[in-house]
Symmetry: C2
């Protein structure tokens, strides 16, 4: 079964194609902005999910205070589009990056994160190049064992190091609590805050993160803002986490069934080059809306292996199906563009302008 | 520890960066061409690994008969660069693709693969648009359960269907035997060949595939060509398969250690957006040449999680390390460009011109 819209997408653009429904995008933007407003924290969406200046601008027009980027290259695209308040939530290291950060700081109000002294030692070069103070937050690890200092004592020491560095302004703390780790995060933050205050410092930014964490938004006493990302599109992981329903999933991959060599199997033209090998911890690689019992069992680069043993209805060769990906952020990064629709109407394409910015 | 070249790459381009050593690239091209020559089969390299017209042209100058692409968009880039003999090893379906295939056929000699009647029914549209006959091979499944007809009888029937279709020329068979399945592939092929000959047809192209299969090249009696891909760069999977050594790995990811929040762990600035979540069935996500005991245990999009529990030497924040990826083809697809070096000299950048061609 191929829906009329899917047939039209295949005819006009070919498959595989990423299609976003703007009604759902707008509803998702409004819903999470309202949740942040209700919780009394600012919204600083992470643009890694959409990588589009147009969508970032829509988020800001809806009330977001600024945006979060992970890479300088993403921030450059966003600043060029006129976005003025950008947090790079990542340790930036090296002369090449400092020169670019300095140039960026001339165009937009930049804040960067750090978790170690090597990063702090490099940042004054960027501040000097721009001639304005650079805001810096200390990243705190509160359970994910990713980046972030591990103890309040280290956070306090690093805050003092920032405050004592030429051209740098200590702005506050960045946390990314686990879904169940907010009490732990509160304890860490309270201790770090008391420590820096004892040294005459204070915070203007205390930033928490994550779309799955929207259920906890506002829970950190003293938190000033939240950095949700995935909510603009949602995906199978968000549905599994209970923070979105299938009707909130704004991005589908439209894919053609290109082979049905056996009765219990088939091949989609969307493989790991489209949907990626990132399972997000789920079984199967996406939900096929037309055939929810079918399993996308594994991938080659251009082949999605369909296991149809549990399916009552089985697709024919040539059918165009719609897939909700497991992890939408990584899928968007595979695309130069997405197709925008509103209901059954095709609006045109949207470049994924900050795609593939590795640096 | 950071090598002088790594320091220079970081300073000039930043990290993460993909760096290819042209001495190794040229050696790999020559070695596999010589192996095909010795086996008496033509070489039709799969360009999915490098996605670069420059490197494809080098392969052809070294003796390759033509190239293999998986997607129309890849073939378009290659034909525009003057490459004239292109196999698209994939079932192409739909009007949009047929229009593009017809246009391509006006620029280069195209062959396409198919494994079902829906594909065969569509192809005459492309042939008609170009005004020249289109060569078509039947894809045969000989053990991978991917695409490909499952039986010689189906292969024979499909060959006859092609031969009876306006504008199409039946050219032969395409096989992708498993590493241990060459006897099975021979049996399948012999039966299919006898069958089509009984109907007055014959083959001009019998194509086998795979870089790990280079140990078997020439083993299929009646085979006319082989489609190796990964050999131009090689990777950790090729080394694990015993068909390449570490010195044959021509592409490294240069990545900076950006965090060392705990004694037994660290963070690389290369995450799944650079190295992908494709493990290739191996443990860990790549070999760090400077710290072979370190394990790249898992990924976030921009974070590579280093497990250093087994490491005697541990990297410092700011160190730039070189990583041999598990599966190089999927890594190259994440890059807009790679940096070319020869030994310690930087030659410049090479665009990955056919990157991200989903369609």
């Amino acid at each position: 079964m191929t829906t009329p819209l899917a047939a039209k997408i295949a005819r006009e653009y070919g498959t595989p194609a990423a299609v976003i429904d703007m009604d759902r995008v707008e509803r998702n933007i409004a819903r999470i902005q309202a949740a942040c407003d209700a919780a009394g924290v600012a919204n600083r969406p992470h643009i890694k999910t959409h990588k589009s200046p147009l969508l970032a601008t829509m988020q800001i027009k809806a009330g977001a205070k600024g945006i979060t980027c992970q890479k300088l290259g993403e921030a450059e695209v966003m600043a060029d589009a006129g976005i003025d308040d950008i947090l790079i939530s990542y340790n930036l290291i090296g002369e090449e990056k400092m020169a670019r950060l300095g140039a960026l700081q001339g165009k937009a109000h930049m804040t960067v994160a750090c978790d170690n002294s090597v990063v702090v030692a490099g940042l004054p070069q960027a501040a000097a190049a721009s001639g304005r103070p650079l805001s810096v937050v200390v990243e705190c690890d509160t359970g994910r064992k990713r980046a972030g200092v591990e103890t309040p004592a280290e956070a306090i020491a690093l805050a003092r190091e920032i405050a004592g560095s030429k051209g740098l302004k200590f702005a506050g703390f960045m946390l990314y609590p686990t879904e169940t780790g907010w009490a732990e995060a509160q304890k860490f933050f309270d201790e770090a805050l008391a420590g820096i205050r004892a040294h005459g410092l204070d915070v203007t930014m205390v930033s928490t993160g994550g779309s799955p964490n929207m259920v906890n938004v506002g829970k950190l006493k003293g938190g000033t803002e939240h950095r949700p990302g995935t909510y603009i599109y949602n995906d199978r992981m968000q549905v599994a986490a209970g923070v979105a329903g299938w009707d909130d999933c704004a991005l589908n991959i439209y894919s053609t069934v290109v082979s049905r060599a056996g009765p219990d199997r088939g091949i989609l033209d969307a493989g790991s080059k489209t949907l990626t090998s990132d399972t997000g911890g789920l079984e199967g690689h996406g939900l096929i809306l037309e055939h929810p019992e079918a399993k996308i069992a594994r991938f080659a680069e251009e082949h999605g292996f369909l296991d149809l043993t549990r399916s009552n209805t089985r697709p024919n060769v040539g059918d165009v199906v719609r897939i909700v990906p497991n992890h939408v952020c990584v899928v968007v990064n595979m695309m130069d563009e997405v197709v925008m629709v509103r209901g059954d109407e095709i609006l045109g394409t949207l470049p994924v302008a900050a795609r593939g910015k590795l640096r």
